[in-house]
């Protein structure tokens, strides 16, 4: 019966071919490390956020007079409402951790390089969509931190030339963040995840066309690829088990880590809390915004600090494979960048002070100079490594890739 049904479907829809092509015969490099499972975790988080979010939306009221109370209602009266909300609030942070690790892996191993530029750029659009979704979702509990976060971020659009003030009022639908803002943020917060799903499809189609990168940085010969299923389904789900143990530890025991205390006070448009901070995943960019004393300059610098990643395929001019693995200079730059991000996050979290302003400015300068230096540093590194003599296995890998290319590998 089952077999006949599949045959019936196969004559009308390429079901079996699709499963073969994308799963059971999809060639995957056998040397993928644990860092290559984070894309799968990100996909899982997207599903978890959509599921918990849809069920929360069945009880939430997007109205400035009711929103705060409806979240309390979810926490106290709805069966397992606390679980849904804590999965969703902790899930937002987990989603960003997973995405940032996924990006860090791409940067460290140079996976953004040809032919995977489109994977990197669709990923960049996904990151921006995720940030927008998270930002709009953060307004919905209608607490003080929600309210003032939205007030500050919408105000950034005042930097738009000539029509800045009108743009801000248009975004808010009011002169300040109000009921109109809350309703539209709810509508868009509900819509965006489905747009993200579409973008993920594009990301995956691109992935299955160019195939996975791997720690060696070289496209492997056929004999070094193994089918995705069962090998990587098993590995990814094993990893997911460990990931979920850590995730649910926070959901059950420390959900408050991801909820600012000030957000337990209902939004008050006339009083700003003494210390407002964005969610941790925005801190480095917020620190860059604060580091520039000029308003428009700060907004431009913050935007650039996110968009500059898109240039990576062009900034990195070294031809040695494997990102940081075989490239000491690039590896050092990556480590400095990672430390710099941590420093910026700290500066972004602390209340403004004169010492920290200087630290923030230095960290911002380092952030951008690393990107500016990269084209020269990578070129120089390429020449230096070749002159010094590459390790034999690397030369062999590069030669084997050249042979494959000559043999018509696309």
């Amino acid at each position: 019966m089952g077999k006949r049904l599949v045959e019936w479907v196969d004559r009308r829809f390429p079901l079996t071919t699709f499963i073969k092509h994308e799963l059971t015969e999809y060639p995957t490099p056998r040397n993928l490390s644990i860092w290559w499972t984070f894309g799968f975790f990100a996909g899982f988080m997207l599903v978890l956020q959509i599921v918990s979010g849809v069920f929360l939306a069945m009880h939430y009221k997007p109205d400035a007079t009711l929103a705060f109370a409806s979240v309390e209602h979810i926490m106290r009266d709805v069966n397992y409402g606390w679980l849904l909300r804590y999965i969703h609030s902790t899930g937002a942070s987990a989603f960003f951790i997973v995405i940032y690790i996924h990006m860090a892996r791409t940067l460290y191993y140079g996976s953004f390089r040809a032919p995977r530029e489109l994977m990197w750029w669709t990923g960049q659009v996904l990151l921006l969509s995720l940030m927008a979704t998270a930002f709009m979702g953060y307004l919905l509990p209608w607490g003080q931190m929600s309210y003032w976060g939205a007030q500050v971020i919408t105000n950034l659009f005042r930097a738009t030339p000539f029509i800045g003030d009108q743009v801000v009022i248009w975004l808010r639908g009011d002169f300040v963040v109000g009921d109109a803002t809350l309703q539209r943020f709810f509508a868009l917060h509900f819509l965006f995840p489905f747009l993200i799903c579409g973008l993920v499809m594009i990301h995956l189609v691109a992935l299955h066309f160019v195939k996975s990168s791997n720690p060696s940085g070289i496209n492997l010969a056929d004999k070094d690829n193994i089918p995705f299923h069962p090998y990587f389904t098993a590995k990814d789900f094993y990893g997911l088990g460990i990931f979920l143990i850590i995730f649910f530890y926070f959901v059950f025991f420390h959900p408050e880590y991801f909820i600012e205390e000030a957000n337990n006070i209902p939004a008050n448009p006339l009083v700003t809390p003494p210390h407002i901070v964005p969610e941790w995943y925005f801190l480095p960019f917020y620190a860059i915004l604060r580091a520039i004393p000029d308003f428009a300059g700060g907004v431009v610098a913050m935007t650039l600090s996110i968009m500059v990643f898109a240039l990576m395929p062009y900034l990195d001019r070294c031809k040695i494979p494997g990102g940081s693995r075989y490239r000491p200079v690039y590896r050092a730059m990556f480590l400095i960048f990672a430390i710099d991000i941590v420093a910026l996050s700290y500066v972004g979290y602390e209340p403004p002070s004169e010492t920290l302003a200087v630290v923030g400015q230095v960290a911002t300068a380092i952030y951008f100079s690393l990107f500016l230096l990269l084209p020269f540093a990578s070129k120089w590194e390429d020449q230096w490594l070749r002159k010094r003599g590459l390790p034999k296995p690397v030369v062999e890998m590069m030669e084997s890739e050249q042979r494959q290319r000559a043999a018509g590998w696309r």
Binding site: W148, Q151, V152, T154, N155, L156, I169, W170, L171, G173, D174, F175, V176, G178, A180, R184, P269, L270, V271, T272, P273, P274, H275, I276, R290, P293, D294, F295, G298, P351, P352, S353
Partner: protein, 167 residues
């Protein structure tokens, strides 16, 4: 089949371009109501004025009232505060105090930091913004910090001795 007549292909390009332009204008026209619907609604715009009774604000006191949903500070300034404000030219956005008040003892300013829209708290020589540390003086003028402009003075007028109408 005859090879394509070049004049024919020109004509086709022209038709293609014309269709694209007309469709583009159509899409823009169809988007306009959607974009416009996101602007403030009529009931929000109708909250344009606020009346405030100022007879109970003692010298040195400050009242915060809502105008268009925004906080407006009404300060009954003391003689000291007035002379301090009048003797200083202001900070990076200089403006004489006389141009910012209608009566020197009453200062009326929108309580929204011109940097990122937080509400400054009373402190320092006037106000301090909790978000990024901008400091304003007794006239609401920016003295230090990232804010680019002085606190905005809303349109208002005195109606009799004890009442002002903002907006």
């Amino acid at each position: 089949m005859k090879p394509e007549d070049p004049a024919d292909s020109d004509r086709r390009d022209f038709l293609g371009a014309t269709t694209a332009v007309v469709a583009g204008i159509g899409v823009c026209g169809a988007t306009w109501p959607l974009v416009s619907s996101m602007n403030p609604t009529a009931d929000i715009k109708s909250r344009a004025t606020s009346e405030v009774d100022i007879s109970r604000i003692k010298p040195g006191e400050i009242h915060t009232v809502a105008w268009q949903g925004k906080p407006v500070f009404i300060v009954h300034r003391t003689q000291e505060q007035i002379s301090a404000a009048e003797s200083s030219p202001g900070g990076k956005d200089p403006q004489p105090d006389q141009n910012r008040v209608q009566k020197p003892e009453w200062l009326v300013v929108v309580g929204i930091c011109t940097h990122l829209g937080c509400v400054p708290n009373r402190g320092g020589e006037g106000w301090v913004c909790p978000c990024h540390g901008s400091r304003y003086d007794q006239s609401g003028r920016i003295m230090h910090g990232p804010a680019p402009r002085n606190l905005e003075v809303p349109p208002y007028k005195f109606v009799g001795d004890n009442k002002i109408v903002i907006g």
